[in-house]
Symmetry: C2
Subunit: 492 residues, 2 copies
């Protein structure tokens, strides 16, 4: 694979002088159009061996384009904050908004390649990590991120020559570190491992561009022209206006998990009071052990309007030290959120080790309201199941105890509660025209919810369906489930 990048490609001074100004002017024009149209963002990955001119290439890009619209990112050893969250948290955090660019050195590829090249991880783990990359990049691409990936290549001999040259020059020697030589010693392993990684992750939506980096002029023109082509193609494509997706109304199967719930379940006041205190006591004690176990907790709440999510959540938080938890109520996204992939706003709020994060409505909006109201295209909510599963898998792997609650009520009970809300002055804010409109789509929501349970309930991140017609019953079942999940952690 790398042989094709060891053939001595060069560009002479005259050709360079003739071509460079045009590429430069068009790159700038494309960047300006990107900023103005703003319906996608661009990530440029720069990989490859040391001494192949990665820094120099980035400097060219920053000089040829408007550096103010470009963020340069690198990821070193994770900080404590990063280490106490899933690996991809820091990549998510720094995704550029639509209209902007990011140049990333040392990306999500670095750790898998280095660990494998030094034989600290086996091939199976390596492939698993590459698969995660493929999923991540596919999601980015589907979410309007243009990914342009460059791999700067120089042959072993050439690398040695460059490192030596730099080391010898007293004014430049600081550019070469011990780490660079340590890596050079493993040139062959790196070459093999990188080749495997590149082959596997060169996908239709995010192909690798291997750049023969020996000749500076060739390298510069290859990178800038490739980037220019990708940008111009994408700008042209984005002019074709997508049709507004239509609302869809799935029909529920007559005998589904929601209809099987025993909606008459209830609990009397005395029993309720005793049980609430018992489970709250447990939760209070056990939450304190999360930190020492290296775990955190995420609780998700979904369900029909007026199902009692808010009150239920307050019963959980009421048992916790206020310093331990945070409640995120998911409302309309801000413009910073809208300018990024839809999961970004949730990744933002992933708790660090030791803490509890509660989502009052969540990323499942994608396959519920967005699906039914046609806020996204069918292919968008269809791929969301896999994206959500991958997201939750990462949470669980990193130590998050994840529970997802669907608090259910019957259509009759909802009607009763809506009417009560309209009649009680301090409850009126809770009922809007939209609630009535949603209610009219009861069956579509039911069908979408059942679909969602099927596709996203896993052993580690189960959906817990709660019969919510009786609030006492619902709250006790919720507290009991949370307490049991925490017990599971402490007993590990």
């Amino acid at each position: 694979m790398f042989e094709t990048a060891e053939i001595g490609s060069e560009i002479d001074k005259a050709t360079y002088a003739q071509q460079a100004p045009e590429v430069r002017a068009r790159l700038l024009a494309a960047q300006t159009q990107l900023g103005a149209n703003a319906n996608f963002s661009t990530i440029i990955l720069i990989g490859g061996v040391e001494g192949a001119g990665k820094t120099e290439t980035v400097n060219v890009l920053l000089e040829w384009m408007d550096a103010r619209g470009i963020r340069t990112l690198t990821y070193g050893a994770p900080s404590e904050d990063e280490a106490s969250r899933p690996e991809y948290w820091r990549y998510w955090r720094s995704l550029p908004p639509k209209g902007r660019m990011a140049i990333i050195f040392g990306s999500w590829y670095t750790s898998p390649i280095v660990e494998r090249a030094f034989d600290r991880e086996d091939q199976a783990r390596f492939d698993q990590r590459l698969d995660r990359i493929i999923d991540f990049e596919r999601m980015l691409s589907n979410e309007n991120v243009l990914l342009v990936k460059f791999w700067m290549h120089i042959a072993k001999k050439e690398q040695k020559k460059r490192l030596k040259q730099l080391s010898r020059d007293p004014l430049q020697s600081w550019r070469v570190s011990k780490r660079d030589w340590k890596f050079f010693d493993r040139y062959d392993e790196f070459r093999k491992v990188s080749e495997h990684a590149l082959r596997r992750t060169s996908t239709g939506e995010a192909p690798w561009q291997i750049v023969e980096a020996t000749d500076e002029r060739y390298r510069t023109l290859t990178v800038t022209k490739t980037l220019l082509g990708a940008l111009e193609d994408r700008l042209a494509a984005s002019k074709v206006k997508a049709e507004k997706p239509k609302a869809s109304f799935p029909k529920p199967r007559p005998n589904n998990v929601l209809r099987q719930l025993d909606m008459k379940s209830s609990l009397d006041k005395k029993e309720y009071g005793k049980k609430v205190l018992k489970h709250q006591g447990k939760i209070a004690r056990l939450t304190r052990h999360l930190a020492e176990k290296g775990r955190s907790m995420v609780l998700v709440f979904e369900g029909p309007d007026a199902a009692g999510k808010g009150g239920a959540i307050r019963r959980v938080t009421g048992s916790m030290d206020a310093r331990a938890y945070e409640v995120n109520s998911v409302a309309a996204p801000t413009d910073e959120e809208r300018a990024r992939p839809y999961l970004w706003r949730f990744w933002r709020n992933i708790p660090r080790i030791g803490r509890v994060c509660i989502f009052d409505r969540s990323w499942y909006g994608r396959v519920l309201v967005e699906r039914i109201e046609g806020f996204c295209a069918p292919q968008d909510w269809q791929r969301a199941f896999a994206e959500i599963n991958s997201f939750e898998e990462q949470l669980v792997e990193s130590g998050v105890v994840l529970r997802k609650f669907w608090i259910h009520i019957t259509a009759e009970e909802q009607l009763k509660r809506f009417q009560d809300r309209q009649e009680t002055p301090y409850k009126q804010y809770k009922i809007t025209e939209e609630d009535w409109r949603n209610r009219a789509k009861w069956e579509a929501y039911e069908a979408a919810a059942v679909d969602m349970f099927e596709k996203t309930s896993t052993e580690e991140a189960p959906w817990v369906l709660i019969e919510g017609n009786d609030k006492n019953w619902a709250r006790v079942k919720l507290l009991k489930t949370v307490a049991a999940a925490l017990e599971g952690v402490v007993e590990e």
Copy 2:
């Protein structure tokens, strides 16, 4: 001071039942109006002794209002990420946007009061910390944050009774920790210290409300009615539309620091090449020592359009490991940023220990472009000098090496560069109508800049004026200054 909150205030059941529903309905209405009008945010501080019903009060507020518009925040021991930045970083990070509310337990008051009550800090330090609180709260208030501060008080005897009661109940004992008893032992010290803190920080814009907390009904109605009053007053006041501030055109003094610069300073190419490499080498080596010294670095760049800030910044970053720095180009604020005090977007980007953050334009926009274009009222940019000084003082105290560069060019040189930009295809993006408009205000910018140097150049955070007509000279002077600042750190 607390005697007035030990007089046995009570509200009987009937009065409560009669008043509560109206307060509740009006609170909700006010919250809804806040969300719709969105020209201020609200922070409710809940302080006071353990057992005085702080948690219960918060629960009432969350139940009476729409919990989805309210974030509950607490601050425990700082995380590593927080500990490696100024103390107030975490408070800034969590400021609610306009239209929303935050309830804070354990705020910026906790640490000063606890440290003083346990006699780990002396009275002078305590007062200094209270002064910082006053500055902070005054700034919040000026920046459209409504601050409502409650102090829940119960007498010593009552606190003892409550802690004992809870401890005895097997289902509630988890609510009382060893820390609570340790604090109770210091009741008298806490009372004295808190009284001093409250007296000193009860300002016109953010007065303390001391609440006699023994009787639950009295406590609830007092808190909710006070909050309601504050909200309704503020909503009424915010209907008076502020006039759009006028642009101002300060005149420069004929003999000022900018006119005293020797704008003929220059450096030939050979000398330049040698010096650049020398200083870059130093910067590269020294930057690595920042982390071990517990320091970070912030570099600010201001100056006329076309002064060469971008190119100068690239000379600095070119000497650093890409993992060590980040460049922030300050453009129009996002809506999340616009919804908060103007310094919020800069606090967001304060580097952790060991890292370098470069601002291409900065918080000084407040006293430059915002002043001259009339984007803020005169009192806003006038108070900004003190706010900026306080901000920078906090940076420096926490270990930030701060340098502020004004790269200067003459009006003639700017004209030459503008013309060159218009004539060179790949430079045209750099020149806009706005640049020409700003140029027409050259003298006003000059006067504002001189004013700014005078008011914000301190020994620890000096302005460095750089003669920028010759780019070689400017870049070398910049690199030399950065290298010297780093040397200062390493030699400490």
